[in-house]
Symmetry: C2
Subunit: 500 residues, 2 copies
């Protein structure tokens, strides 16, 4: 990616300092020294996160007529994970230092030491590589033991004698698959059918790191699209996307914009898959307004991708604070792998009757990591302090920002707070709005900028006479005078992006 070397780059520490101080997120249970891999969202972060989740709902649940959200439980029975393969395959290759006792992800250690891809290699292969290349503990340089595999699911024991074993789901997807038959009936047996979950997933990560990027508890927004596999190369809305440019990472590592119609031909990618690929990119670039140049779709190779994914692209974003591309979502053609797995273990047929034919539907899974997307938003919209503006700020789009408006009475007297309160209550009906009555106006602008509020409304002495207020735009700090009676209309215009 082309980077401007003159730019001031934000760091992980930088973002975390603001996140903690302003209530975006922080290590949870701080008073007890925290719990590794678990972050809590503060008041500002919760609003931002909720907005991202709701934007996800609005975008993805509108991709088809028969698309809905469901909310299955976080705890699921063992059999479900026998069927999904998680009991057997959801393991982390780990290796312990014989000297200091620290555990490491074996594949990651090898990748770091040797610069080769090691994900997906067997326990034996990894041990061999470590021995052959004399890879050592990166904390104390001690010798490493044998590579072990550890299941990454958290086990729960329930009932009076703790003899019923269940698991916290490691991905929301399985919560959809176990309910497929029931929901297909409820939703009147029509394909394509989309079932989404915005919810928690839990993994016993060996080495949680990079703040919200690799946690042990995290939020996924996943949409499972069930469809007739004979129609994978058909797409009712093809016209909508055929000229849409996908940001594809090429073999040389560079990103090139390529039209859906071109990819259908050159790569033989099916139209229905491409449609979903385009809609996923659109979420990040069109809806969340992520910088197009920092976004890419990376196709996983045969070795990298899970064996059950027929086609697998990751959505990645270059994050300055981490100095690398990070996965924020994925577009997985999982075929009938999951439904067949559940059919086998549950002995319940997952074959459906649709338009006169019987078959097990295929699935395209569109997944978004909400916490990673949240962190990416903080990274991408971060603006350093400058000479003109003496503080750091975030350029979140209005729909994503914790609040869209801040309301300031110029002074805390002479009837200004009363009028400001009236304006505050008016704005609050339609938009996230915060009232701030203390400190200098400059200080209040700084406070608002720092959590990314796009518009600040000031009520001054003139307001008492002309019934108008000043709106200051965060991005260019320009101010305009607006009649209070026109505020609602102006707010709509501002938030729709017309003015930018």
């Amino acid at each position: 990616m082309a980077k401007n070397s003159e730019e001031v780059h934000v760091t992980e520490d930088n973002l975390y300092e603001i996140a903690r101080r302003r209530g975006f997120f922080y290590i949870g249970n701080e008073i007890y020294g925290g719990l590794t891999g678990f972050y809590d969202y503060g008041n500002i972060g919760t609003m931002l996160k909720r907005n991202i989740e709701n934007l996800w709902r609005r975008h993805f649940l509108n991709l088809g007529e028969n698309f809905s959200e469901i909310e299955p439980s976080n705890v699921m029975p063992e059999k479900a994970f026998v069927a999904s393969g998680h009991i057997k395959n959801f393991v982390d290759p780990s290796v312990k230092c014989k000297k200091c006792g620290a555990w490491h992800r074996a594949d990651q250690l090898i990748e770091k030491s040797l610069g080769i891809k090691a994900e997906g290699k067997s326990q034996e292969e990894l041990t061999k590589l470590i021995k052959e290349h004399k890879i050592r503990c990166d904390k104390c340089r001690g010798e490493l033991g044998e590579v072990r595999v550890l299941n990454m699911m958290f086990q729960i024991k329930m009932g009076s004698e703790g003899d019923t074993v269940a698991y916290l789901r490691p991905e929301t997807a399985q919560g959809v698959y176990v309910n497929f038959i029931r929901q297909f009936n409820v939703m009147r047996s029509r394909l394509p059918m989309g079932l989404g979950i915005v919810g928690k997933a839990f993994r016993n990560e060996i080495s949680p790191r990079q703040l919200l990027i690799r946690q042990r508890e995290f939020t996924q927004a996943e949409l499972q699209v069930f469809f007739d596999p004979s129609k994978v190369d058909e797409c009712d809305n093809w016209d909508e996307v055929k000229d849409y440019g996908l940001m594809i990472m090429e073999k040389d590592g560079k990103t090139k914009k390529r039209k859906c119609s071109e990819l259908a031909k050159s790569e033989g990618l099916p139209k229905f898959y491409l449609y979903n690929l385009a809609k996923s990119q659109e979420f990040f670039i069109g809806v969340l307004k992520f910088t197009e140049e920092k976004f890419r779709l990376r196709r996983l190779s045969e070795e990298e991708k899970a064996f059950y994914n027929k086609i697998h692209f990751d959505a990645e974003v270059f994050l300055d604070s981490l100095g690398e591309y990070k996965e924020v979502g994925g577009i997985h053609y999982r075929t009938d792998h999951d439904l067949l797995g559940h059919q086998e273990v549950s002995k319940k047929s997952h074959s459906i009757s649709h338009e006169g034919r019987n078959f097990v539907p295929h699935v395209i899974e569109l997944t978004v990591g909400i916490d990673r997307t949240f962190y990416a938003a903080m990274d991408l919209f971060y603006k350093p302090a400058t000479e003109e503006r003496d503080w750091e700020w975030f350029a979140f789009p209005p729909e994503m920002a914790p609040y869209a408006f801040a309301v300031f009475p110029l002074m805390g007297k002479d009837g200004l707070p009363e009028l400001a309160d009236k304006v505050y209550r008016m704005m609050k009906k339609g938009y996230g709005t915060v009232y701030d009555g203390s400190g200098s106006i400059g200080r209040r602008y700084a406070r608002a900028d720092e959590i990314g509020i796009p518009f600040a409304i000031t009520i001054d002495y003139d307001s008492l006479k002309d019934n108008a207020v000043t709106i200051r735009k965060r991005d260019d700090t320009k101010q305009t005078r607006v009649k209070i009676s026109d505020l609602e209309k102006e707010a709509e215009r501002l938030c729709s992006g017309e003015s930018r």
Copy 2:
């Protein structure tokens, strides 16, 4: 409660049959025979639940200027629960049948057999009662063993060797308390400060039962209000509630409406507590439109309430399907109990400086059980089939209903679907709206009624000429003709309840 004996009463089975068939909720992981105590919300239920949660946010987070939602993790470290007392005290008295091996909640078994309150009694007292009264297993009549206490929290082991012990939180409240110091700084050190969580809690219930009422995973919406204890008898908004009538359960078991001002005098209840009590009742009656006559606030006696609650009222609703009052919320004056507990274990001072004084804030906790409230809504708004209307339906208020509008083209041809689609897209911008194009209009009304959609819009042949549609109201089945250009305004009027 006065009941009309002529009414057809809904049953638990009745509600569950609709819930399962129409996608409100169902036992999760059905294909594996389910997991006891875990229910999944289907597509219709998720919309209804989300609406209840958002109505909670709008009501409770607006009770003060410095009130916000936060989102801490579900998994919390052991120390937090040492501090909260859950490790020691969060136990269920359980007793095993020597014959069939079934476990029972000892206190509940005694209550059922002897008709006395047994909650809160010690292990020894419970064993004594069982022996004395020869209480037996209610499944096989076998002899019962000694009463044991089992901790109801789910334990999680993490890290490579599983040696870090943590717990799934058994209540959302502790997620707020462990973050109190951090959030008090973030939120500019002003009291009263409100911190809410809408999230999951997990309990290893010995005998989950009554569908959503007693589950092992459930959603709580809890607001912790931190305030200066010297001001508990002050209330800025006292005028707002002083004449408000609280539905108080009297000593004789009857419910009587009593004004806040009266209760302040006769019961010596502090004003700030009464304000929060009134606002909690208002949520159920004013916002969710629960039947006032079926609602009551029940004060817990010294023996019933947790020792740390200085004042404890439960919000209860009479549910026909269960034939009894059920707790749907609580209003707990927890004092400084929790913050002092965390202060002691964490060794971090929880004393704050506020308006020139130093103290540990007190807490009033306003809690709502979202799943129970959901179930109560299904029970309260259920309407049986009648001669005129041949199907069961739900009278959910528009803001709570899964969809506010249904759009029907009279026929699937002659341009009607195209116009209906236009209307559908228009309505969808502002309201939950569903399109239904198949089956007779009667069948479509039935389908809409059954999930409680308040308004159905039909596009007929006249619509093509007069650009008007028919709106049919679910509650009285009356129909009115409305110009498409007036639809948005009419929708606003209908949903605000003006027309009812």
